[in-house]
């Protein structure tokens, strides 16, 4: 049977990560989170009004983080630790393969799991600490932390699971927590609607995952990762005949189904609609769940099943879809972000956009890039959200960037401003000094050298510029410039005493963040920078994330070997492991053979040749290097435009400094008459013309179009999903007329119709 397999696959199971028995105490990590949930539940029942729930959760999550870190330190890299806690389901209905269904409550800890667990527990602790202050005084304090802890528990199950069923459990669990926490302010109808929307859209994705799960079980006869990946590695299905996977349609169908699940959870086109609305939840929830952790579960899922996604010898429909959808999502949502005024919504769209980057990265086989971006994004996006949250909290719910300005100069807000700047720099990809720049570049560079990925690369590059623009638009509008703000109309349930907020800026005193918020922001800001350091440590193996991904299911199918000088991460590792073998279908033969001829690693050895055949040179340079320059330039241009249009360089100019709110608002309007601005400075017209007709109009139109598509088509689709059953129900409702004989007629008619069916098919 082996002759039917590609020669490359002949290496046998040696390529699977060897499994070792992990530390038995690892179950404490999820259980601590669950204990936190139970404790908060008790607090809720006992009507505890103090901050005890917060401290319990912070403490327990902190311990969980420490335990995770200990476990990670004790992890023998290049192996997957398996911890079996107890057997959950053990059924068998025969002796042969596939005639049993068993799965454990157990953990499979390879690099991917460790990476995710580290930032899930770490960020979880930090954000819980933040929330301890942010949510202070809210009536549902204990309820919030119960949901929060339950989320961490579910996420831990999802990430640590050693089988698909437990993953599915965690998957649904995080969805439920997300639903409960989005609907946390249940008095707001919009929050309830958003919660429902999130849940239902996620159900569509979950349906894909569930079908994928079943199909996996049908195909492989097991849902346990270790057995599953061993089979995939051997390239055979789990039936008696050991059918080669390359001959089975399931091999490409399973990834497609899993992909649908991933799209739902990670808010990709067209299932992204729930995420912007999800911002109705409390900001810490947005930061943790809807920016840093849960939404990356889709990336995790694809990375986890990467061996199947990139399985050689079958069409890679799923991988290509992932790449293209990711790229388009990135572009699409960044254009929408440009037209928004609500800073949390901007962050939400930017999250979707960045998730698009990650998927695009996966699609172009850069699992390391995707994982790196997940990692850095987790920090800086959490940071951005928390900073926004601090602003929102301080200004009584004001999130409109037209109504906030110059926070830099407001006393007590300096830390928020500085951290916000750091976050924005990361998101915008300010070259060299920000982690976001490196991780984003990793994806783009891979895209350009991947055959067929150039267009994705260009899209991502364009998106990078747009990202830089809208990120700094927020920063310049809100934090720089003259002090001017208008408090929101939201009265928190807490007793902070902002009830005089309605009187405009005059009587309103923004409530500067306290120590917990500032500490968390500072720690996150430092971490965002420190994340760069992590890339450059242990360089031969591609840095911290590269190492981790290399020692996981995502890395054991390492894609192309080719890398720029500065982060030759997975390459060397891959070379050492000797398993560079999966190539895209679209790969030209030359490249494939280069890779295929017995671990020679043509791509690695002669990168230029390989790239010449596939991607060609850009600016006479190796695409990687070129990309570093190009993306740096693009990013800086974006920032520059933002500065011109919204910041110190624009409008009134640096020295003029007397711009009014009205003028700034006008700048965002599409009105051809720009009024006062035109009169101020003639020479600014060029900028404005350029802005209006060459840049802004098309972009506004584009974003309007996209927005319309969003509202009409995608939203409509989702609403339609609800509408169709309702319409069917309304159509069927007359059948339930309440008249006895009407029912009897229905029964008789049904009998006749079914007998006709029998007559036809007999």
């Amino acid at each position: 049977m082996f002759e039917s397999m590609p020669a490359l696959l002949g290496a046998g199971s040696a390529d699977v990560l060897p499994t070792t028995v992990g530390p038995g105490w690892l179950w404490l990590v999820p259980i601590l989170a669950l204990a936190g949930c139970v404790a908060c539940g008790l607090c809720l029942a006992m009507r505890v009004r103090t901050k005890a729930p917060a401290w319990i959760v912070v403490g327990l999550l902190g311990i969980a983080f420490v335990l995770t870190f200990m476990g990670y330190s004790g992890w023998d890299s290049a192996s997957a630790q398996v911890v079996k806690v107890f057997e959950w389901i053990g059924l068998s209905w025969g002796d042969s393969a596939g005639q049993s269904l068993s799965f454990n409550f157990g953990f499979y800890m390879d690099g991917l799991s460790w990476l995710w667990m580290l930032f899930v527990t770490g960020l979880g602790t930090l954000i819980a600490l933040y929330a301890s202050e942010y949510m202070q005084g809210d009536k549902g304090y204990a309820r919030f932390f119960a949901g929060f802890a339950l989320f961490v528990f579910s996420m831990a199950c999802l990430v640590m699971a050693d089988n698909l069923v437990l993953l599915y459990l965690g998957w649904e669990g995080v969805g439920l927590c997300s639903y409960l926490l989005i609907g946390y302010f249940y008095k707001k109808p919009s929050a309830v609607a958003a919660a429902k929307k999130a849940f239902i859209v996620n159900r569509i994705g979950d349906l894909g995952l569930a079908l994928g799960l079943f199909l996996t079980f049908v195909t492989f006869g097991t849902v346990q990762y270790d057995e599953l990946f061993a089979l995939i590695d051997q390239g055979v299905a789990g039936d008696m005949a050991r059918t080669p996977l390359s001959e089975m349609w399931q091999t490409w169908a399973i990834p497609l189904l899993l992909m649908v699940g991933a799209f739902g959870k990670s808010a990709q086109l067209p299932l992204y609609v729930w995420l912007p609305d999800a911002m109705e939840g409390p900001t810490p929830v947005s930061a943790l769940i809807h920016a840093a952790t849960m939404v990356t579960a889709g990336v995790y899922l694809v990375a986890r099943f990467f061996p199947l996604f990139a399985f050689e010898g079958v069409p890679h429909y799923a991988l290509w879809t992932v790449g293209w959808v990711g790229a388009l999502t990135a572009l699409f949502s960044s254009t929408i972000a440009m037209a928004q005024f609500d800073i949390k919504r901007i962050m939400a769209y930017s999250t979707i956009s960045q998730l698009g980057y990650m998927f695009a990265g996966l699609g172009v086989l850069s699992t390391v890039g995707a994982a790196s971006h997940v990692f850095t994004h987790a920090f800086f996006k959490a940071l951005l959200f928390l900073a926004c949250g601090a602003v929102m909290h301080g200004f009584a719910g004001q999130l409109d960037l037209r109504k906030l300005s110059g926070l830099w100069s407001v006393p007590g807000w300096r830390i928020v401003c500085v951290t916000m700047l750091i976050g924005c720099m990361n998101l915008a990809g300010v070259p060299l000094i920000t982690a976001g720049y490196w991780s984003k570049d990793m994806i783009m560079a891979e895209a350009f050298v991947t055959p067929g990925g150039q267009i994705i690369g260009w899209i991502l590059l364009l998106t990078a510029g747009l990202t830089a623009y809208y990120t700094f638009r927020v920063f310049f509008r809100v934090f720089v410039g003259p002090v001017s703000f208008e408090p929101g109309d939201e009265h928190h349930d807490d007793e902070h005493g902002h009830d005089n907020g309605h009187g405009g800026g005059g009587g309103f005193h923004p409530h500067a963040p306290g120590w917990a918020v500032n500490t968390v922001l500072a720690v996150l800001a430092l971490s965002s920078f420190a994340a760069i350091g992590l890339y450059f440590t242990d360089k031969p193996n591609g840095g911290f994330v590269g190492n981790l991904v290399g020692d996981s299911t995502a890395g054991y199918v390492t894609p192309y070997g080719h890398h720029g000088a500065d982060d030759g991460h997975d390459d060397a590792h891959a070379a050492a492991e000797g398993d560079v073998r999966f190539v895209l279908v679209a790969d030209p033969p030359a490249h494939a053979s280069g890779d295929a001829t017995g671990g020679d690693h043509g791509a690695d050895g002669t990168p230029d040749a390989a790239h010449a055949s596939s991607g060609g040179l850009i600016l006479g340079m190796d695409p990687h290097k070129a990309m570093y320059y190009i993306s740096a330039v693009v990013g800086l241009i974006g920032i520059l435009i933002a500065a011109v249009l919204h910041g110190p360089l624009g409008m009134g100019g640096l020295g003029l400094g007397t711009r009014t709110e009205a003028a700034r608002s006008k700048a965002d309007e599409l009105l051809p008459a720009l009024g006062p601005v035109a009169r101020w400075a003639q020479h600014k017209w060029y900028v404005d013309e350029f802005y209006d007709f060459l840049l802004r109009t098309p972009l506004r139109v584009l974003s309007h179009v996209f927005h319309a598509i969003d509202k009409l088509l995608v939203d409509g689709l989702v609403n339609g999903l609800g509408l169709l059953p309702r319409a069917m129900g309304s159509a069927l409702r007359p059948s339930q007329s309440g008249v006895l004989q009407g029912y009897a007629a229905g029964m008789a008619g049904g009998l006749v119709l079914l007998l006709v069916i029998v007559l036809i098919f007999m």
Partner: protein, 111 residues
């Protein structure tokens, strides 16, 4: 009684006669159930459908030359009697409340 009794063996064509009659009674019973609005007549129609089944059972019993079908009919009669007892009690109860035997009078629950 042997004047009426047919030959010992019932052939397939004779069986077809009985089945046609039985199916006819069943269909007429169903039509009656759907059209008549008097609760008592409606129930009478279900009795007719039961009777149709009974006739088929007797015919099959003869055809197969065993008596299980006849015994089945005894039980059908039992159930018909039990159902009739309950149905009539229920009809009386309903009549007391609405002073009408109209089935359509009972259509508050709907949707």
């Amino acid at each position: 009684m042997h004047l009426l009794a047919d030959s010992m063996v019932m052939g397939q064509v004779t069986l077809a006669h009985y089945l046609l009659l039985s199916a006819g009674l069943f269909a007429i019973g169903m039509i009656g159930f759907l059209t008549r609005r008097n609760l008592i007549i409606m129930f009478l129609c279900t009795e007719m459908m039961f009777q149709a089944a009974g006739l088929a059972l007797i015919a099959f019993s003869r055809y197969h030359m065993n008596h299980t079908g006849e015994v089945f009919v005894i039980f059908v009669l039992t159930i018909a009697a039990a159902e009739a007892a309950l149905a009539l009690a229920l009809v009386v109860l309903c009549f007391k409340r609405r002073e009408s035997l109209d089935a359509s009078a009972w259509s508050e629950l709907r949707g």
